[in-house]
Amino acid sequence: MINSSSDNVKKLGSINRRMFITGSLKFLVMIGLVSRLFFLQVKENKKYLTLSDKNRIREWKLAPVRGEFHDYFGNVIAGNFEAYQLHVIPEQVEDFRYVIYRLKDLLELSEKEFQKVLKKKNEIKPWETLIVSDNLDWNKFSKINNHLYDLNGVKPVISISRNYPFGDNFTHVLGYVSQANEKDIENNEVVKKNFVPGLKIGKVGLEKSFENQLIGTNDIERYEVNAYGRRISQLEFQKGEKGKTLKLTVDVEIQKLSNELLKDQAGSICVMDIFTGEIIAMHSSPSFDPNLFVFGISQDDWQIIRNDPMKPLVNKTLQGNYSPGSTIKPIVALSALENGIINKNFTVKCTGKTEMYGQTYHCWKKEGHGFVSLRNAMKQSCDTYFYEISRRLGVDKLSETAKKFGLGEKVFGDLFNIEKKGLIPNTEWKKNALGKGWLLGETMITGIGQGYIQTTPIQLCLMTAQIANGGYKIYPKIIYGDENKNQPEDKYTPLYQNSKNIKIIQDAMFGSTNEVMGTSYRSRIDDLKYQFAGKTGTAQVKKITERDRELDLKTFEIPYEERDHALYIAYGPYINPRYALSVLVEHGGNGSTTAAPMAKKLFKLIIDRHQLRESINNKKYLEI
């Protein structure tokens, strides 16, 4: 009994000792658990709270509302309209087959469109939105609304979309918008940030150049979602900002007239304010309707535009490199005067052709102009005279003057990425580009705007404007009211050495238009209010052979592609000039018969609207 009792005591001691050891261990482990809880829930709480929100909150971005384009007078030239769309959330539809066939009937969907919708349906999750139609007309939209009672889960939606009220008038200025593709998103951070499926962004023109300002910011819907991504409830709606509205310097009426004048012809018209450099109109013909692109252009329409021989996709004003023809003559003459090669009394005898190293150079007038002075040579556009003075001048000096006046350089800088530089050749250029020495004969044909020299219509317009304003440098612009920023330092610096020389050229151009024998005499306006001065140009597309000379065909007798380009540059009114323009008609035949009459109509309208334009400007000051 004692033994067992002592054993009992020992056993009791052992078990109690171990109980205490275990108890202390438990206590320590408990503290460990509590500190782990403390670590997770108190110390790292923020981190896990963020993670949990990231889990449960998902953002849905809605397409931002795009900024508009207005013309100088506040007319909307690129706006937004309410597109009627039809959305279906497949999960909310009891009998999807029934509803979709019903919709097919109501919307009169073609089999092709219908299959497209079905394909889209299979690509999305059942709780995501299926866009059955993105731009319904009002009739179908209201028809759907009348049948909503048996179309469960179908949602008629009004969404904001791009609209160009003036159709094809501004296509080459504004460009157009279309669905952003992967490359667009990759190349532009702002687009990437604001991207939503179906987002439309500018593809060319100002729509592209000002994408970042126009795009606006997304409306954001925040939803709570479950682990499978299904929306449970909406937490927040954050209104986005509409993109910036840009006011352009263009005038809708003049733009419309330009479009009309060039109807069914390929060509370009641009009009510029000679002091401010504001673009009043800038049109390239033929154009196309940018509205076609907003919801994705159909294959048929695209093929029609793409395969048009007149190349509607090319912006001829900025992209078209043309020989300037006789429109270069004011610059050649100016250069000769400035460099002291000639004075205004310098006279050349024109017999209709000149020989040089065995090569014959023809004047446009077979019988010749006889003795011509500078003023007469300009007025009648005597080629022989300009062969002679350019021969004396040399191409390097000529190119210097031409470049000063804006030829051979991009007029808008980086604003339009498609703009071409043209080409003002000189001896160095030829050596570098072609590896050959410059020939004197090439100088002579450069003097009448043929050969290597190439200019764009906008460059010619700028050149004319800078002659018209008395020879001062201006910077063309198309966005209104950004004078304050990036004002180039050399704006309004004189481009001449002697201002008399500019006057001589202006006077010669006046003669060309307003005096008998002038090449554009028939297009003159006698009313001093509208009177303008200009210079015609006819750019050869192909070399004129001896045979052609003998035949002496009329324009309409020559195949279209071989006809000359018709050009005209002008400024007006002659007293107190304000506007300059350039007209180019591809294969239009003759500058004086095709291009100059357009200028006449344009000046009439431009000067009629001058008062109105000024009043807008003055109102700005009145309001302050």
Binding site: K11, S14, I15, R18, T22, L33, V34, L40
Partner: protein, 375 residues
Amino acid sequence: MYQHTRLSNNSFGFFQKFKNFDYILLSCILLLGFISLTTMYSTDGGKILFHTKSHFTKLIVFTIMMLIISFINIKFWFTIGYFSYLVVIGLLVWTFLFGITSSGSQRWIDLYFINLQPSELMKIFIILCLAKYFHRMKLENVNSLYTILTSLIIIILPMGLVIVQPDLGTSLLIAISGVAVLWFAGINNRYFIYTMLGFVISLPFIIAFLKPYQKLRVLTFLNPDRDPLGAGYQIIQSKIAVGSGGIFGKGFLKGTQSYLEFLPEKHTDFIFTLFSEEFGFVGSVILLLIYAIIIYRIVAIGASARSYFAKIFCYSFGAAIFVYITINMSMVLGLLPIVGSPLPIMSYGGSSMLATMIGFGIVMSAKVHNQQAIA
């Protein structure tokens, strides 16, 4: 032997039993039951659905059962110690032969009204069996080879039967229950140390024998971000849920991680995660405190018990419960790899609750009959 003569052996009146009841333990268990019920209600998304109803029924039935058990003399439990162990071994064999297979393991017996998981019961009955085995043993005999071998066989037999199901987690918990008894019975410390060393040395071999999904769990535990949407998903989401709870939690029925279905297994093994998300650090500590009080009461009852059987049972059961809680929470908090181990009472699951309640019942019986000596 070691006994008072103040009271005769079987003189426990009904009212005396009531008086002897451990009301602190009982109220803690009831409180825990209540908490588990509300949490279950929350997992059902704030509605009284299947899990809540089922849990409620089980809670009522098993609590009543626990009370009945506590009124049965501790002597009875001593008597059926071996027998009950053998019955559960029989059930495990039955499971092995005719059990129901679910998600790749054969763990359940279909009893028509309930699917019983005998491995859960084994967690309790192995303690009962070993407690009886060591009850009368002299201390010097405890460390004899024969004793150690016998007790090891008692432990390894059910372990083997559970491992083949396969259910590594539960078999480890059974082993831990058994080892706890050995520890309190007085097995020499060095055996534990040797075993530990042996385990560490053989770890590479054990890993080699692990099933691919078990290896994955270990790897995932070591680095949950290895595969955040696959194997690491549970640990990551669980930590997010607990961590985002903060000090006071997101509020009852407002645990976003759970009701938006980011939490896996939220009714069973991960129930604490949900609780912790909704009630935060404060709630979690209170829950831990309730468990701590329960364990403390169990140990206290053991300390005041007059028989070794009751002592060993209470201490071991207390230690086992503690280990279950620790393993479950450590797993949920990302401190241990995922092993299937329910949180006692809180987790949904009948067998686990049944086993725990039987354990509580026997502990309570030990308290009610704390003057009872066992010959």
